[in-house]
């Protein structure tokens, strides 16, 4: 009954180094064409090419939910991009049995000038739904995204949260036989993430196959029975989720602690809150953030900066610590806040480490890190019920009504006095 739906054989993808970042100006090509004859003696160095993926073979049976884990740059996304036909492999082949849907980004195909309604159709069509399918699911999508009242408002007037919800609502209603998902669940507010995870579990139960990349190991643990661990472009281990995840986590810890030299300059290895999580569940009490850093060189007169940004990129707080020393090895940088009253949602933490002073005193930037995973804040919303008025802080407020104690005359008299005093001061 469960047959092979993804069959991958000897798949490899080679990039020319530097190719991904730049586009060519005609001038460069002309320069190369002119100078090439004079460089003929020199062999093209093998380092000109980089195998992002090499000799990868595996297969997936119908109804399986497979997790892909691995460090940044290990090749997970490249593999998804090949399987979703965005880019072509350099060698090997893959066979996909059935309609393939890919979610490599939230809101693929959204256009800011179009209305919510129009974007549902556009994004749905781009993700591979037929018009009839979208017609049928339109109402459920709108209900899930909770945007009924804004259907005819251009998307650019939506809050980020609303855009995310709409994007997800479209995406989770995609019902291909094979679904490829890359990290998209890392954004969006937590309540909504839960909804989506639930929806995805439902999808897998209906016999569809899912290939799922995430940095949030807990999501993988929850959704996937089988896990592929990709390391340096190859499959390092594959098997039952618990087994592979344990091996992966052990290896990560080991390589960080035993061999900090492998990382060269200082590298942030991870972060967590005091309770060993990345989810803030109560912002009204003391909050401790632990950052693990591995360094090979000693840091003197160090500067450690932390900024927290919300999902619109607005910095909601920043802290800097100066004049400390770090010895080579793995260490924890810990700082404690008396409270962190953030609205529920997903936040990015950005940390920097300087040597010999900070950015203004001529220090040298050793490391800048967009912390992974994101900081998820899962507290009760305490501010205004409407997103547009709630702001950034999440603080419970008391409200009461009482009789006015002073009459207007008194107040006016006071104001006149203050004015007179300030004039007097000015003299």
């Amino acid at each position: 009954m469960s047959e092979t739906v993804i069959f991958v054989e000897g798949l490899g993808k080679r990039y020319r180094v530097g190719e991904r970042e730049r586009y060519f100006a005609l001038r460069d090509v002309l320069t190369r064409a002119i100078t090439a004859p004079f460089q003929r003696g020199r062999q093209r160095r093998p380092t000109d090419h980089l195998w992002a993926l090499r000799d990868v073979s595996f297969d997936v049976r119908q109804g399986e939910v497979i997790g892909l884990i691995g460090r940044n740059g290990a090749g997970k996304t490249t593999l998804l991009k090949i399987l979703s036909r965005i880019t072509r492999p350099t060698e090997g082949f893959a066979e996909m049995h059935g309609r393939v849907g890919s979610l490599l980004e939230v809101g693929t195909g959204f256009h800011p000038e179009l209305t919510g309604r129009e974007n549902i159709y556009l994004s749905g069509a781009i993700l591979g739904m037929s018009k009839r399918e979208i017609d049928q699911k339109f109402d459920i999508i709108v209900a899930l995204a909770e945007v009924e009242r804004f259907l005819d408002t251009p998307l650019k007037h939506f809050s980020t949260g609303m855009q995310m919800r709409l994007a997800f609502a479209v995406a989770v209603h995609l019902e291909p036989e094979i679904l490829l998902v890359d990290e998209v669940l890392a954004v969006g507010d937590l309540a909504f993430q839960k909804k989506c995870l639930g929806k995805m579990e439902g999808v897998s139960k209906s016999g569809r196959t899912i290939l799922f990349v995430s940095h949030q190991i807990n999501q993988i643990r929850r959704l996937c029975k089988r896990v592929l661990w990709i390391d340096a472009g190859q499959i390092r281990q594959s098997g039952p989720a618990g087994e592979v995840i344990a091996a992966y986590e052990a290896a990560m810890m080991k390589s960080a602690q035993e061999n900090p030299a492998a990382f060269g300059a200082p590298v942030f290895l991870g972060w967590e809150l005091g309770e060993g999580e990345n989810i803030l569940r109560d912002g009204s009490k003391q909050v401790t953030l632990n950052f693990t850093i591995s360094t090979q060189e000693a840091v003197r007169r160090g500067h450690f900066g932390v900024t927290i940004r919300n999902d619109e990129g607005v910095s909601v707080g920043g802290w800097g610590f100066d004049d400390f020393s770090l010895e080579p090895g793995v260490q924890q940088l810990r700082f404690t806040l008396p409270y962190l009253p953030l609205r529920p949602g997903t936040y990015t933490i950005i940390c920097s480490l300087f040597n010999n002073g900070n950015n203004l005193t001529g220090g040298k930037l050793l490391e800048l890190w967009n912390a992974v995973p994101f900081l998820a804040v899962d507290t009760l919303p305490l501010s205004h019920q409407q997103d547009a008025w709630a702001g950034i802080l999440n603080i419970a407020a008391d409200f009461e009504i009482s009789a006015h104690t002073r009459n207007r005359k008194e107040v006016r008299g006071q104001a006149a006095m203050i004015e007179a005093e300030s004039k007097f001061d000015a003299k």
Partner: protein, 287 residues
């Protein structure tokens, strides 16, 4: 070999279509079947182009009429009244508008098609669809503007007391040729633009130069006979002369010129498709 998983070979399922993903190879074939499969997406791309074209403009689609109309006035004044370029018996507005109709469609379609890959690079790095759908939809969506400005032309004809003749039945053939020309050249430029951004700066000159190499501002009879063969290689010359003939009865019915144009267009188009598809396999890694 590092094979993992349960199966050892391919068990072919008959109920699902099989997509085989391989290193790039057959880039010269036009993927008609696939485009047909994605026809709804093509429709949505055209629909998107039309929807957003005049968003946040005060007069909206009226621009589709105003642009050729104002250009026609300027041409009539400067090329006609001041420079006395012969219009061979036609009123200047008719003479210029009948040429500006296909020309403005063509130049807009060409420019839009050229920019499609660059403008949609976020999209093409995140989801698969036949990339040909992008330039194809941008040359098709221009036809709506063309239709609107064509209605304006009928108004001008009415004003001058002219009538459409049976020759107007040829019009779809000329429009089709203009679409294919915009698509053929647009494919080349879109592919080049994805890799060499210089195209963006070359394009305005190219369009302007091409306009003067086409009988927009003057009748093609002004071209010296010994250069005629070269001139006729320009497919837009055939299209524009065709428009003037079928709408205003000016010049000769399509003959050698038209078929020569069509031949050139087909070559350009086939080359464009091949080059575009060759680019398509690498562009995601470059943009």
């Amino acid at each position: 070999m590092n094979r993992v998983g349960a199966a050892t070979g391919t068990t072919h399922l008959t109920k699902f279509p099989i997509v085989r993903i391989t290193p790039p190879a057959r880039w010269w074939a036009i993927p008609f079947g696939e485009l047909w499969e994605y026809r709804e997406l093509l429709y949505f791309f055209v629909w998107r182009d039309i929807k957003i074209r005049y968003k946040q403009t005060a007069i909206g689609a009226a621009w589709a009429v105003l642009q050729p109309f104002l250009t026609m006035l300027v041409f009539s004044l400067f090329f006609g009244r001041l420079a006395h370029i012969p219009s061979e018996g036609l009123p200047y507005p008719i003479f210029y508008y009948s040429a500006l109709l296909p020309w403005m469609y063509f130049s807009a379609a060409l420019q839009n098609a050229t920019n499609t890959i660059v403008e949609n690079q976020r999209l093409i790095t995140k989801v698969y669809f036949p990339r040909l759908a992008l330039p194809l939809s941008s040359v098709l969506s221009g036809l709506i503007d063309f239709g609107i400005s064509f209605l304006m032309f009928l108004g001008i004809m009415l004003y001058y007391g002219m009538r459409l003749t049976a020759a107007a039945l040829w019009l779809p053939a000329f429009i089709f040729l203009a679409v294919l020309t915009a698509l053929g050249v647009g494919l080349w430029l879109a592919a080049l633009n994805a890799i060499y951004r210089d195209v963006r700066y070359v394009l305005p000159f190219l369009v302007q130069f091409w306009m003067f190499a086409s009988p927009v501002a003057y009748p093609s009879s002004l071209v010296p006979e010994k250069w005629r063969w070269l001139y006729d290689l320009n497919p837009m010359a055939g299209v524009i002369d065709g428009f003037r003939w079928s709408l205003a009865g000016h010049g000769d019915p399509p003959g050698r010129l038209f078929f020569l144009s069509a031949g050139v267009v087909i070559l350009v188009l086939l080359g464009g498709v091949a080059y575009f598809q060759k680019m398509e396999t690498t562009v995601v890694d470059v943009v």
